[in-house]
Amino acid sequence: MITIEHLSVSFGAVQALRDVSMEVATGKITAVLGSNGAGKTTLLRTISGLEEPTTGSIDLDGKSLLRERPENIARLGVGHVPEGRGVIGEFTVEENLRLGAMISTTPLRAGLDEQYERFPVLGERRKQHAAKLSGGERQMLAMARALIARPTVLLLDEPSLGLAPLITAQLMRAIHDLCSTGSLTVILVEQNASSALRIADHAVVLHLGSVVANDTADLVAADEKLRQYYLGMVE
């Protein structure tokens, strides 16, 4: 379980997160929603150690993640697929996956096969340069690269960004399937609120760095005011 308490993050005079508190249940999908500038990406970056909070705490199963370097947090089992995916175009699919496997304790071949089974299209294109993949395939590669290290927590930052609706639906199904065993916890940051709420168990809505809603995904999806004012879901 991830426990975040009174978390605040500032960039100079700009306060990106204000006194954010939330709990992320193990084996569940928690969607973090909100408009541009709400602080969603900052929240994920702070969990990963890329940003330093001014106040507050982040615990993973009782262990504090504060003041840990990002590579150590990754080794503690937090996988992060950043916005823009961060795959290396000049590397092949397999070389990108090998990068993700650097901190894995399982044999490389087994890890690769597991990801090829999970995302068959990556197996078919294992020798292809990542630059030649479509947006959806790149997103799958970025997720597979994070998953090959066998994380217990997966942070996904805008996975549907720039993808066609059909591909987004496939991707969301894949994310939902990841949690089917109950061992992987997912924090899903999305602007596409309706897609995220469809697969999420829980939802947190941020606005200008503050939590304005923190409830089950069904209740958030049913709240007309939240839908209209914070999630841009106009019927």
Binding site: L50, E71, I88, E90, F91, L99, M102, I103, A146, A149
Partner: protein
Amino acid sequence: MAASATTRRAAVGASTGVLAVVLSFAFASSTRVAVALSLFLVILIKGMVLLTSAQLRATHPVIARAALTVVVIDVVLFATYFFPANTNSNLAIGAAMSIVLLGLSFLTGASGQISLGNGAFMGVGAFAMAIWANHHATSPIAVGLLVAVVSGAAMGLLLGLPATRLRGPYLAGMTLAFAVAFSAILSSFNSWTGGDSGLQLPTAATPPQWLLNFFGPGTSLLTTNSMWTADIAIFVAGIAFFFMANLFASRTGRAMRLIRDNDVAAELVGVSLPRTRVVAFVVSSAYAALGGSLTTLIDNAVSPSTYSFALSITILSLVVIGGIGTIPGALIGGIIFAYSNSVITWITNQTGLNPQGNLASQLNGIIFGVLLIATMLFAPMGIAGTVRHLRHRRRRRVPG
């Protein structure tokens, strides 16, 4: 199918090898020369047999790279026997410089860091070699080279640790400061470095007695110093290129390229940015020092004026001209450097310029400047990078 191709290749290799040995003994002037010739041909054939195996290249790339290294070293060493002294001298200088360029190319091309101080790191190796040789006159050359590499790596570590906190122009600024201060540092340790006049090696690099004895008196094989130093430089460069090619392709090399392209993504997959950057810096410095120590061996002396800030700029220019982050680019840069003096001599001869004049003394800088501008304009990826790009483009056009 694959097994029969392997058997066929092995059979062709074995029969060609036997033929090579028979011919060597039939035509060589003495038994010992025949042994040397046989050895050269057998290594060449064995290496070529390994290299032609696509399966080996795919499944055992390290062995394939080792085979390529052995073949190239074998051929070039053999060729030095036939080359005139000045060609061997140029080859030696080119091999030494290509090691330095390879180090910087790795630092910049793989990890994305910029160093303006590799001339000074080269100087560290050059002086370490000279100081060691002056205090341990009977020590083998290999030990001197090793001392130089360790000195360069240690200096790289010293500068690399604070460098992990710096990026882009700030890191370049720090290495620039080291390059500028290097001459002053050398002067401060007069008793060790010989001050402005530098140091001479106690004895010129000569082939070991056992090798001379092997060929016997009367043969000219390996008896000239220029050929011997060229052979050492080529052999060492071959090993250095082999290690670097493996480092480029290794997990560490891939992690470095990930840092260069996306340092956030690198951290998120568990790559330690400070540690990886320091490793790149240390490797680059060690390579520069190795190149510097070979230069001392070739020149039989070392002078502080050689390792001025201008050399660091020349090194950076050559890396850009050859192609940043490419292994052949370092080789191309080394050859350009080695032949730059010959080109200047040719220009002065053709134009009637006074070789001691002001313009002639500046020709070196002018040539590198023009080459650098031309590269930036017409081949921004450098010579090797552009050739690779054109080859990829042509391959894409070929149907199927």
